[in-house]
């Protein structure tokens, strides 16, 4: 058994897995940022963030469809405006969820907002599955196919087996660039702007922040909006990358993104990015080495190990509230 395992290691396409893992991980990281920001500011898990990601997917296609019905198929403009539409709609959902399900429970026992968040996540997921339907949806090829061309070829393919070249596609480049830009912008916003100072102030001492004149409710709402926007962009990228949209995508990716946030150190923004990339890469290597059926088991094991060995996460600043 060990022998066959080592044998299977030899044929692993390291390079390609590293690329796909990083691409997937950067999308997880975008979702994980939403979890980690809300956790940082409210010390609660916004379970519905995964569903916001899923709503972002559908909102993009709705936006594109609406625009192409209005003025025709202008691929670039429609796609960009579709993303904007998704960001706005997902932000509205994020803000609304904070308003309806969390604001009144801000000072309650930890069980209450958590339960409410799970309820909200179920409501959003079922809402989409009911109104949009269960049949699979495809991201319009008209918009995703133009991104399929290969920018760089890293390994020549093998014509005998029908396996083509290994390389980086335009879409992968776009995903990585977008993710990097958004993360840099977020980092800048948190550390170098007034809103960032206000957000950090609120996360450290909510009452005091209010006493020095920071409108706490607005800042918290803003955090939700930022987190939702990142999740919506991740949704667009993910649906373009995988060419499909499903109502259940939020739970699957959301759980992984959340694991990423914990592994990186929840409440810590660089940690979420690191965790996302790690999870993406580990997941892809597990698929190649052990088989796809084991990846969630492996991820769960990693989560448990992190909690045992380093509960505050890789980059966590402080002990994760051991009570």
């Amino acid at each position: 058994m060990l022998e066959s395992f080592i044998k299977s290691l030899a044929g692993v396409p390291w390079l390609e897995l590293l690329i796909t893992g990083t691409v997937k991980g950067s999308m997880y990281a975008l979702i994980a940022l939403g979890y980690t920001m809300v956790y940082g500011i409210l010390q609660m898990i916004n379970f519905a963030n995964g569903e916001i990601f899923m709503i972002g997917m559908f909102a993009t296609v709705f936006g594109i469809a609406l625009l192409s019905s209005l003025w025709g198929s202008f691929a670039a403009i429609n796609l960009i405006l579709g993303v904007v539409f998704a960001v706005i709609l997902a932000s509205a959902y994020g803000y609304g969820s904070e308003r309806i399900a969390y604001r009144r429970l801000r000072n309650a026992h930890i069980l209450a907002p958590l339960t409410s968040a799970i309820g909200l996540s179920i409501v959003l997921q079922q809402f989409i599955s009911n109104v949009v339907g269960n049949q699979p949806f495809t991201f319009p090829n008209y918009y995703s196919d133009p991104f399929a061309w290969r920018v760089v070829t890293l390994v020549q393919g093998n014509p005998a087996t029908g396996a083509g070249d290994v390389g980086i596609s335009m879409l992968q480049v776009c995903i990585l660039t977008t993710a990097c830009l958004l993360m840099t912008a977020l980092f800048y916003m948190i550390h170098c702007t007034r809103v960032g100072i206000a957000m950090r102030a609120v996360s450290q001492d909510r009452l005091m922040a209010s006493l020095v004149g920071i409108p706490v409710n607005h800042v918290i709402a803003f955090t939700f909006i930022v987190g939702s926007s990142l999740a919506a962009v991740a949704g667009t990228l993910f649906s373009m990358y995988t060419t499909t949209l499903t109502w259940s995508a939020g739970t699957a990716s959301g759980l992984k993104a959340f694991t990423a946030a914990i592994i990186g150190g929840i409440g810590n923004i660089p940690g979420a990015v690191l965790g996302g990339l790690l999870i993406g890469i580990i997941e892809d290597f597990t698929i190649a080495i052990l088989g796809a059926q084991w990846r969630n088991v492996i991820l769960f094991a990693i989560l448990m190990l992190t909690l045992i060995l380093r509960p505050r996460g890789l980059l966590g600043e402080r002990v994760a509230d051991k009570v």
């Binding site: 609660m44 898990i45 909102a59 296609v61 709705f62 594109i64 469809a65 609406l66 192409s68 019905s69 198929s73 709609l89 509205a92 609304g96 309806i100 399900a101 429970l105 000072n107 309650a108 026992h109 930890i110 069980l111 209450a112 958590l114 339960t115 409410s116 799970i118 309820g119 909200l120 179920i122 409501v123 079922q126 809402f127 989409i128 009911n130 109104v131 949806f137 495809t138 319009p140 008209y142 918009y143 196919d145 959340f258 694991t259 914990i262 059926q293 969630n296 088991v297 991820l299 769960f300 094991a301 989560l303 448990m304 909690l307 045992i308 509960p311 994760a320 509230d321 051991k322 009570v323």
Partner: protein, 431 residues
């Protein structure tokens, strides 16, 4: 702010304070509600009234879907009204101080010997009714009724088990289905020819109780010291892991699950009234056991931890060990429930560990009353039976949505659940 500083404050001798008399017309209270309604209508609009259509070219167009929109509101309208009604009732219940009166009715604790009389009488009546079909009684229960009774009984055991960890100790477990699956699979695997092919279901109960408890203990060990929400996530991941393990391992029959052989021999009993009698007996045994534990020093330790962990620790309660114990006990009861499911349906598949199952049991506990034994029984009954009653009236697709909405509404208006006590309410709201 623009008034000169020196002006002395005009203190009106009588009448309402200025600025207040004009600013609060009667409809003021409805403004946020209406704004919220409009906002919800706007942001749900594209998903409800629009459909997108993919063209063969790969382009996508939108079209109005009037029928879909009307259908949605026909389904959701009543649901929204029910939700609103529950919210308003709960609000009124809290606002008018009705809580005090119900506490007087519900709170008194009597010696446990006395408290067994009524359940036993009820049990005798139900079981007699269940068997009345054998005696040719005209109004005898149909197999459907008996089936529902059995399933409700199983879910009552599950909900009581989950209540130990959520209601008593105040820890959230999201992957309860994982523990149910452990129980179900343990029993099913023991049935296999290589193990104990003739194992009767009642002999399996202590085994799954111990196995379930041990697994709970092991899972709880690393994460029970952490904040409550970590536990929630870990258990969620655990359930997913169990599902995948069940899919992948040879011993669990992989995706096709395990079909228990000779169901009538090892299954619960040959006929439904007998099964009902056994399951309800188990419900009573479990309820009595949990009731006794709750009113023992152990139960008081749990409550102390729920109310204030630091203080409980300072008073010498071994917090971590107590939490682990409650977690392990809860998963042990989940194991018993899993065994019953396996023995009754005669089939175990990875579906048992589905997240939906966890949510259903969680919703039962939250609706019925966190920490309230009768409340949890009621919650299990209502949430299992209502969908069956509504079958044919409300689409299944809206059921989970109602569960989710119920969880939000309950948390906002009545976090202690239908029959929970106000002590819990203070803890949840003000803690």
């Amino acid at each position: 702010m623009s008034t000169p500083e020196a002006t002395p404050a005009p203190a009106p001798a009588s009448g309402p304070a200025p600025g207040r008399a004009t600013a609060a017309p009667w409809w003021n209270a409805f403004v946020p509600f209406l704004v919220g309604l409009v906002a919800v209508l706007v942001i749900t609009f594209p998903f409800i009234w629009l459909r997108f259509e993919l063209q063969p070219s790969g382009e996508v167009y939108a079209r109005w879907d009037v029928k879909g929109g009307v259908d949605f509101w026909q389904n959701m309208g009543p649901v929204c009204l029910i939700g609103l009604g529950i919210g308003l009732l709960a609000h009124a219940y809290n606002a008018w101080g009705l809580q005090r009166y119900t506490d007087q009715v519900w709170l008194p604790v009597k010696p446990w010997t006395q408290s067994l009389y009524a359940p036993l009488v009820a049990y005798a009546v139900i079981v007699a009714y269940g068997f009345s079909g054998h005696m040719g009684f005209a109004l005898a229960p149909s197999p459907t009724t008996l089936n529902l009774g059995i399933q409700v009984g199983i879910y009552m055991i599950l909900a009581m088990g989950l209540n130990i960890v959520i209601g008593y100790t105040g820890l959230l477990v999201l992957g309860y289905a994982g523990f149910i699956a452990i129980g179900a699979y343990t029993f099913a695997i023991l049935q296999k020819p290589d193990f104990i092919p003739g194992l009767p279901w009642w002999a399996g109960i202590p085994i799954v109780f111990i196995v379930g408890g041990a697994v709970g203990w092991l899972i709880g060990l690393p994460c029970i010291r952490l904040r409550g929400d970590y536990l929630a996530i870990v258990t969620l991941g655990f359930a997913e892991g169990v599902r995948e393990l069940a899919i992948n391992l040879e011993v669990t029959g992989q995706t096709s699950g395990i079909l228990l052989r000779n169901a009538s021999k090892i299954g619960l009993a040959p006929d439904k009234p007998t099964i009902l009698a056994w399951v309800l007996l188990l419900v009573i045994i479990c309820a009595a056991a949990i009731y006794r534990i709750y009113h023992s020093p152990l139960g008081r330790a749990w409550i102390a931890i729920r109310e204030d962990e630091v203080a409980a620790g300072a008073m010498g309660i071994p917090v971590v060990r107590m939490k682990l114990l409650s977690f392990a006990l809860s998963s042990a009861f989940a194991g018993v429930g899993g065994l019953l499911i396996a023995a009754y349906t005669g089939f175990v598949s990875p579906d048992v560990a589905n997240f939906n199952n966890s949510v259903t049991v969680l919703a039962m506990v939250i609706l019925g009353g966190l920490g309230s034994l009768p409340g949890v029984l009621l919650g299990a009954g209502i949430l299992y039976l209502l969908p069956e009653l509504l079958r044919g009236y409300v689409d299944f697709e809206y059921r989970l949505m109602i569960f989710g909405a119920l969880m939000i509404i309950m948390m906002i208006y009545r976090p202690q659940g239908l029959l929970g006590t106000s002590r819990h309410a203070i803890e949840l709201k003000g803690g």
